[in-house]
Amino acid sequence: MTTARSHEMNFLAPSVVRTIGTRSLVIGLIFAVLAIVGAFVRPGDFFHAYLLGFMDWLGVTLGALAFLMVRHVTGGTWGMVIQRIQIAAMRCLPLMMVLFIPILFGLPHLYIWARPLDTVADKHLREHLQEITQTYLNPHGFFIRAVIYFAIWAVLVFFLSKWSAEHDHPPMRDTSARTKQLSAPGLVIFALSIGFATIDWMMSITPGWISTMYPLIILIGELMSAMAFCIVIESILSRYEPMSTMLKPSFAHDHGKWTLAFVMVWAYFSFSQLLIMWAGNLPEEITYYYRRFNGGWGYVGLFLVVFQFAVPFCLLLSRPLKRDIRRLAFLAAWIMVMRWVDLYFMIEPNYSETFRLTWLDIVVAVAMGGLWLAFFCRNLASRPLLAAYDIHAQKVLEPVHGGH
């Protein structure tokens, strides 16, 4: 019955997707022009803002990839309804590759190890840099490693996207064994690659400062961004067919639960890192927090504690809120904003001892977001919103039983 039903329905994305895409492109281009002006006027600020925006939108892209693989490994109907949103998001990877190129030109603005070492005043740091730049932290290594990371992600995105596209045509198939075989080792390789990418792109801003937890905080943040993004998009789409039929309150509930889990794990990781460093109080480590507790940065930290953890946590405990996609979407949008604040708190204090927010921080993030969204909407519109010929997708179309 449901099989027949899936054939009758039209799963193409509603026209609103293209509208959003066009508007995002216009906004993205306008802000991109401003950003380019900024790049010439204030190159230092521009590159700091650029890294921030890049990491923020890369997070949504890679988070979607990781989340899709988690779904493939563990199964569950909750993932079917957002699968095509995740795929459209991860297919923005080519855009992120292009957007990575300017970072290569801004290395000296971003990383102390890319500057001439005799400009480094701190003797210990200079000695450390003399060693580490020989072997690891140098522009060539940085570039080669980035190519490797992107290649790994691209392979995963390519196959998962291709296999999903096969479900748009008859016959009805079950390819879950194949996707699972790729996703299980894929997750392992992904975790390692994102770990090392985080070390290269973010942790190496302060060479000599290390935290083994740091890559995991980034990883969980990416998953959180991707989940929040999917909730926002499914909420917009739920006003139109076919999402209005596909999205059941129980799915929204599950997505809300995932968000709650990520919020908690983010807090758990972040707090553990803080506690261990605070208790150890070692000069090479505590400087990270010393900066972030002083010079006005402490308020940003407090803001994160309250609005990235406490408030979303309390709200997400509510069952009615999780089952109401409209209200949940507001919270998800807020979490996406907070992801930017979190990355801002991780990146910017490295460059300024006192609180500093430039217009470029916002302009670049919006420009990148606009372009990213335009690309995403193009991806989303290019395929149906449900893989109608995937045998597991049929559960999405089953009518809701009872009150549940």
Binding site: I132, Y136, L192, I199, G208, W209, I210, L216, S272, I276
Partner: protein, 459 residues
């Protein structure tokens, strides 16, 4: 997170969570008969006596310790923690699988847990008991252990609240209490079943007293469900918190090898890793000896093996990051720690650890190793050894060579260390043997809910 692990939708046919052909009465009979009808076997008696021998060894070791003090152990300065803490962390880690299976998998609606939760919870309790013993006797003066609790006293002495060792006192005692309650509440309906089925009047009375007047009325069930769900909710954070606090015991110190920020999640993953290994080591013989293969099916073995593989990979990620950061960070003490692990006097232990914890368990990617009981049993044994070695490396190897060469030392466990450790192994198995015979080792009523008859359609 509906059906998170449940609907692993592969093309091939998967083993069911309960073999076909069972009805309410056969499920009840099969599980309760192990307790009520099965005669005492020579095998069981021999097993109990063997373990009882080790219990006596433990008593001897602890008795002698009370007379002579901790000097009988191999602990020295700088290695003041030694076996006692290695074993504490190992045992408490093993205990984690019970709570994970009973609470978290229940909240995730993983019905496959129904046949392994009961004995996994029992295992948790016995493991926590063994774990708790070690720090207690390691204090040197266990008769004043109550000083660790904050209570108003004329001496005006309070515990150091900023020390994770004190957090441990709270974390572990909360964990033990909640696990016990959770286990007991889950047992009540089954105790009533045993009461109803027992023929001997004294057995009937004993189970009757423990069943606390359970009659199985709708009201009883409704309250039971609420209580069980609440306890599951309470127990869930404990799975994370207990081993997180244990990891803080190390990580807040500045000793290289201890002070690393990844420790909390890495310890939790390690705990679940070893916990599932122990679950499998117990489940595999139990299902074959007591004829419970219909209830503990290949599916359970495979799912547990997958959890083991996943947590093992997280542990491996922890090793990789720690080693990389040791090199990348440029801190000479961290770099030396890495060198010392690979080339120092305990290098063999470290390589054994890598083999047991990282390399051998990779065979679990192959389905045969996840479903073949003998192979899986062997892999689980290797993992348990590996996880013990990991704690040894963390405790001993980090302490034996820290910042100053003048304070370096070596650690040699004495026979009393080994007696105590093997004694707790005996105590653990001794308790398991009794548990198998006097309580239903599989939850009878939860198994009944898996039968097709219990699936009542709303429409």
């Amino acid at each position: 997170m509906t059906q998170l692990l449940e609907e692993v939708e592969t093309g091939r046919k998967r083993a069911p969570v309960i073999e076909p052909g069972h009805s309410f009465s056969t499920v009840t009979a099969k599980i309760s008969d192990v307790v009520l009808k099965r005669p005492l076997s020579i095998g069981w008696l021999a097993g109990v006596m063997f373990c009882f021998g080790f219990v006596n060894l433990l008593l001897l070791a602890v008795g002698y310790l009370f007379i002579k003090g901790t000097g009988i152990w191999g602990i020295t300065i700088p290695i003041g923690w030694g076996f006692a803490i290695v074993n504490f962390v190992w045992w408490i880690g093993i205990g984690h699988a019970g709570t994970l299976i009973s609470a978290i998998l229940m909240l995730l609606r993983q019905t496959w847990r129904n046949s392994i939760n009961r004995f996994a919870e029992a295992m948790t309790l016995f493991a926590v008991a063994c774990a708790g013993l070690f720090p207690l006797i390691h204090t040197g003066r266990p008769w004043v252990a109550y000083w660790m609790f904050p209570y108003p006293n004329t001496m005006g002495v309070w515990p150091q609240f900023r020390s994770p060792l004190i957090w441990d006192v709270f974390a572990v005692s909360t964990y033990a209490t909640t696990s016990l309650l959770f286990w007991f509440v889950g047992l009540i309906p089954d105790l009533a079943t045993l009461r109803d089925r027992a023929t001997n009047i004294w057995v009937k009375r004993a189970y009757g007293a423990l069943a606390m007047g359970w009659r199985g009325s709708a009201r009883h069930w409704s309250r039971y469900e609420t209580a069980y769900l609440l306890l599951a909710g309470l127990a869930t954070p404990l799975v994370l918190s207990v081993h997180t606090v244990v990891s803080f015991d190390f990580a807040v110190g500045i000793v290289p090898g201890w002070h690393t920020t990844i420790f909390p999640p890495y310890f939790v993953a390690g705990a679940i890793y070893s916990g599932f290994a122990m679950v499998l080591m117990l489940a595999i013989p139990i299902r074959s000896i007591y004829g419970l293969k219909d209830f503990i099916t290949e599916r359970h073995l495979e799912n547990s093996a997958k959890v083991m593989l996943a947590t093992g990979l997280i542990v491996g990620y922890g090793y990789a990051m720690e080693a990389f950061m040791g090199w990348y960070g440029g801190n000479r003490y961290d770099a030396f720690l890495l060198w010392n692990r690979l080339h120092g006097p305990y290098a063999t232990w470290y390589y054994s650890l890598l083999i047991c914890n990282i390399f051998i368990p990779q065979v679990l990617w192959i389905r045969k190793f996840r479903t073949q009981p003998v192979l899986l049993f062997l892999v689980s044994t290797v993992v348990l050894v590996g996880m013990w070695l990991e704690r040894f490396i963390i405790v001993v190897v980090s302490l034996h060579r820290d910042f100053l060469n003048s304070s370096w030392g070596m650690y040699y466990p004495t026979k009393w260390d080994w007696f105590t450790y093997t004694g707790t192994l005996g105590l653990f198995l001794f308790c398991m043997f009794f548990f198998m015979r006097i309580l239903p080792s599989i939850s009878i009523f939860e198994m009944r809910t898996l039968l097709p008859e219990s699936k009542v359609k709303a429409e």
